[in-house]
Symmetry: D4
Subunit: 250 residues, 8 copies
């Protein structure tokens, strides 16, 4: 918090341009976080890390989510909640009518997507049941200001489907590859491109997939170097990573 | 043991064509196993399962191995020892001069390979460090009477190497695919062929391969149906399985 | 896609024998896959791998399944959906009245089973709770054109039940052995026959079965060589594998 | 420690029948343990549990072992050390010339075996590499006063070897079944007998045996009730358990 | 099946003492199993193993259970079903009015318990949530003809509760010790007695108990020799094992 | 039980100050535990361990809980039940109207909290979904007589939130640090303070957190020495541990 | 590549039907790999993926390595061998005198490093025993044409060491963070920067680090989004990934 | 670094009381760490955390250790190296003749132990092979200024050995309990005392101890609350933790 920033807020209070309550909120935000009863919202994250704090809805009390989002948006032009159910969205919608629900991605966004820059992020899946995770990644990328293309259901069991898209694959700037079961797709794609492959294991599959462990290990052991791995079903993390890489050196 | 077999042995004892000791051995063998001091050699296995009992050398006292092989070969035209070190072979060679050592496969064979029949078994590896396991599979197949071809180092990180061999792959009768690390090769090949793919995980790789667990899980979760999986590094088991399948319905 | 095939379709469009829409579908199919909104149906798989693409229903949106099946059957004489609940079937039935539900196997089939050829596939289970997985394997084999026999509940805790069926077991061409808990049945059967044993672990059992891990490891470590292992509860994969082996060299 | 015992020791000191040093040792032993510098030898264990404290040599300083055994034998008619290497034995032999080394079992015994009572304990192994663990169990039983029979190498891959011994198996009073790899033998034997089967997993096998985990899980999940499981490679524990059961109700 | 048995059945058919249908059933039973549509009931098990085949209800179709029990009881004086819910019992009760439900043990019994013999089996638990598993063991023992005592909630965190029962513990003939969480109770009891301790891990506990894995490993690694371990939550297996041991040498 | 205590109870019976029934209860309690039908309540625990026996509600029959608490409170000034649902509380409330429900902590308390002594216990969480576990720890500490402060949502992804609290952290006497996902917070805090850090892993997170295993391993491997780890989600255990340490040497 | 194919291309160049540039492309495409006896060297990889095939020395026969490198360098300006021991290097040196050994990184390089471009890659380690893995990453980056800085031993147990470098950290273009034990460093750094963090778990630590599993899980579960994870001890993979990201969009 | 401190150093340089080189070192130390070539020694740790940075020798280059210790001791009155082999000690001894080797604990110390304060720390082991880990804990405590008592080999298999020491146990201020195999000792002791129990699992035991996993899980699941767990074989961590707790509130 610079002295200038501080002075400006106090002057506006003096002039009654803003209420004391609003001034408190703004001062806290300048301190880097909002100290709520049950949370410390990281209002400095966008400045520091390039993206605002995100609300991960799973395991949180649904009643808290509209309140958290409402606080966050006073300090950020774009606010996101991930793993949001339709029920959570209807609670949010009541408080923040401008909220948008990206249903297959289970993401709520409030505010404007960032300005698009960089190359293309291509999101691929091995099968159709990997789509929800892929959409979480794709929508995250779009909101972060990336052009996104999708190619779903191009798993290695039908290599011709993949080879039919090879030019698109080789021309993408960053690739997000989502796969469950054997998790083999990132290895194959990693051997075809010069760009970074972000591998996302999913928890889909028969018994010995052990909720995504199988695909996770496959991807970590990829024989193609240059493959980055994220957590099981973590489409959001993959999206953030892809966006950062895609917008490098601009 | 048929009556005729029994009668024949006894008549030869009567005529002193064989000694009493030899007759005991032959009678025991007809009973289905030789009851040694420290082992019960399954002399009936070839008749029952189509292949003789095999000596798995790891964890056995090297001194016992020549003796076991010597016993087995009195009842079988072909006898094998797997996972044999050069040291074990030199012990065997002293007792059984006709023994042959297939070095990269770590197999000792005694007697004639079976007559070749069936189609071709193609053995592929993802990398060069999978070769010892692949050789164990290939030599087992050859000794069991199969024509064997090899294509090593065609892993998915360089798909063109694999695609260059696609006709050979599609024309093989049975495929043995050996891979460590991500274990992705069987899934890709399984999507290209009509025939059975036998997947052999190997224990090669970086830390999170966990001594072959990664490749094993990948193969069990292969998205291409029709893939048969065997134990980690078990080239011999893959060879026996391939031979049985290759010689089906002849 | 040969030039001849292409020419034929275009001529039929020219002659208005087929609509432009139908021609699009057929051209896509010749390209090897149908590019739907949310999936790329592999229409070339039957030609390449000997069996059409299968719809695995678990984890898919039930609304998509009738549509997927409807697309697939335009390019295949036999179409399958596995792990289908009765609810999924009633959705399918509305769109495709000729669909058949194989209830214990949880399989929907559309079209004619393939012509029966090859020897007999014998499906065995250790216990009665392994039956749903066994039926998935058995029905898959039947639809793929194999004669199937069943012997359920012959686990090793009552060896006489197994030995009473030994001739049937030894006369089968391929054996599928389904077992949970200790998973010991494939090892015993593998020691009795010359033919391939396909071992299917199931997720049935007390605590330390760890959802099928126990049976899976047992089968991978079978002391009888020539045992092929598939994923936990993967009756369909076992059925495809058995069918391929049973129809080898014909 | 009864008053009578105490009085007796003190009177012998008074009469100089024993030295003060010896009296100290005897008094400590009556207290239930000998408090050495680096150990508390449980001298009451034989009275309480029916067998004396045992020295488990692995991970102990070899120099300590002769001293520990020497202390223990002043309060017990029979003293054992398990997992003893030949090197350890030669150290012990120097101090206690009457010590005996049971080589394949890796056991050192000092003193008289207990008087034989009860029925027969039958020790079986699936393979030949399970023999060292089996011998540890068998020798423990013999020293504890049990008649022991052995049948090694009767694994389920050659069921006729097992069935040839079925009368012996059914007539034994307690069975110890030692197996690595698939660990299937106890399930089969458990289904053939009325008596207790003690299952001992061994760490022998290919990769996915994971140092005995595979056999351990198989045995815990045995479909035959009445199977008792002990730790991997724990022949000694199996021997003690068998001895206790065999000598019940006498 | 002896000739005498066979003759007797046929004579009773001839005299119309039994119907042809009943004779078929009795002949099948003499063959060792009843070949139902979906199961092979092991009618020889009581003769061979000392206890009849048991119906494990979990994972079975509830409709099948009354039928299975009805078949079994024609060949056995005592028939059991384990893991039976109240719903299953009400289905059974309708068909077999004499069936009894042992509610805390979740066991249904039909017929007379065996005649009591042998010493006392003492069933202990570490906590109160281990009681359902303990009751399954205790009721099994009672039905198999053993005198059973119970001491519940004597875990090691309050050692005085255990020590208050030490005479009872030392006087029992066999001990079944049921514990979740740290699973430490069998080790402590194993150090106090001469008799066999049967350790039963349960799936109760906080996160890192991993559904009973923690207690299972503790028990397998018990530092007191002579501890027999069974599967997680397997009260029935512990009961059968205890009964066999308790009735040894009578 | 001292003679004086015994004499006092008996005299009160004689004087009819208490009934015989109450005297029985008090005498049993002096013996160290109350022997109920289904439990042995450890009434000596407070004297021995400094805290009374606690009722862990999960997995217990809700009907038993009011009865257990009612028994315990006759011998303790403060009685607790953990992991209590609102349903359990309403059952308890009916029997014991003075019972208090600490809702976010899921704890029921009956009686007076202990007198506050020692320094401050500071409870921190990495995120907001760790709060229920943190509250269980905090309320336990408060009831045990400790001053408690809370700082929630100070995870390492926003280090400035943590550093803003550094004086508070360094001035606390004991720290309880609750974290799921990467579990990294205790390592950072452990490097900042001289006092004990109690690390509590939670089961919150994406797929590869494996229900808290990830955070548990992180904490056990903390590179800052002086970190004590408790079970996953075990807020109560952390609270007891913190209270003991906080009240050392007073 | 057949002679005919070669001849045809050259004739078309001669006739100026295609340009020299096009001929080069066609020749490369037709070749693509060198088919050695025991390996298929992927000579097209640099063109396709931006880096040449690398020789991973572990598990390879040392005699093969000089030969492999010699072949590879005919098609690439820079050739690498990783995990090379000093022994391997001296074998290589004899054949290729210009080879350079980067000792702490265990890398052999032959040829010129690529031209430096992009921003700075900063390699950090938590401790000193992580340095060999960090050096493998750093040297790989340098050879791939990146400016590299190092900050070793800045683990979270001494946060001031890290904070002292915060400007350097925030000004780097890509960060490689290497850590064993608790693996917490990437989470902390991920919360401080806008750029990609590549997390490399190492196998260093006490027992419950389970050879790097602990650090791997921590990193996958990092609460800071935008963290890319690679395999345990895989410094080379991290280096390639960092280089690709660092040179994006140039 | 206060201004006063800084001024003092500079004045001493000015007066040539210290050399420029020494001043550099002191200034760096005031900055909180020494920036060596391969390490950043945390010279502020003693001030911040109450104990100096420790050198963990495993996995470090032995040549670096004397140098690291030499640097550290310029800023600390007591310096430690753990897991030091005799070879490492002889290297250190050459450079720092006053270094002391605590052999069974594998610790090197340089400088004076801290002044003793607080109560007694009692270190107990279950068996004799746990002693090296226990000694690491005990010597750490002694050097940190605690009075230490030891009771080794009091495992639960001989409870009377433990009960004979109960007064000593109950009078200790902090208890460190070291155990491998079943890891049951901390649960028993935790139920006997009011003070903190620090549980240290060791990697000693038969197969299914899985290198200490068994004992670790047992301790985390201890049914006695108030048990703190540290990493497998981590005697040093236990010692630091015990020292902190023992010296609370003084």
């Amino acid at each position: 918090m610079t002295e200038a920033e501080l002075r400006k807020i106090l002057e506006r209070v003096q002039c009654k341009q803003i209420s004391v309550g609003d001034a408190v909120k703004q001062l806290q935000a300048l301190a880097g976080f909002l100290d709520l009863d049950f949370a410390k919202l990281d209002t400095d994250r966008e400045h520091r890390c390039g993206l605002p704090e995100i609300i991960f809805c799973e395991g949180k009390d649904p009643k808290h989510i509209p309140q958290l989002l409402d606080q966050l948006r006073t300090n950020a032009s774009l606010v996101l909640a991930t793993r949001a159910t339709p029920e959570v969205f209807s609670l949010v919608k009541r408080v923040i009518p401008s909220a948008i629900y990206h249903e297959p991605a289970r993401i709520i966004s409030i505010g404007e997507p960032k300005k698009t820059q960089g190359g293309t992020v291509l999101v691929l899946t091995a099968g159709t049941s990997d789509i929800p995770v892929a959409e979480e990644a794709a929508v995250t990328c779009e909101l972060m200001g990336n052009e996104v293309m999708r190619e779903y259901d191009v798993g290695v069991a039908g290599l011709h489907r993949l080879l039919a898209k090879i030019e698109k694959i080789q021309s993408a700037n960053v690739l997000i590859v989502v796969a469950g079961m054997d998790g083999a797709l990132p290895s194959v794609i990693g051997g075809l491109v010069k760009k970074t492959v972000i591998a996302v294991p999913t928890s889909r599959g028969y018994g010995a997939s052990f909720q995504g462990l199988s695909a996770l290990l496959t991807m970590l052991n990829s024989c193609a170097p240059g493959v980055a791995v994220v957590n099981i079903d973590n489409g959001f993390g993959a999206g953030v990573l892809a966006s950062r890489i895609n917008q490098m050196n601009l």
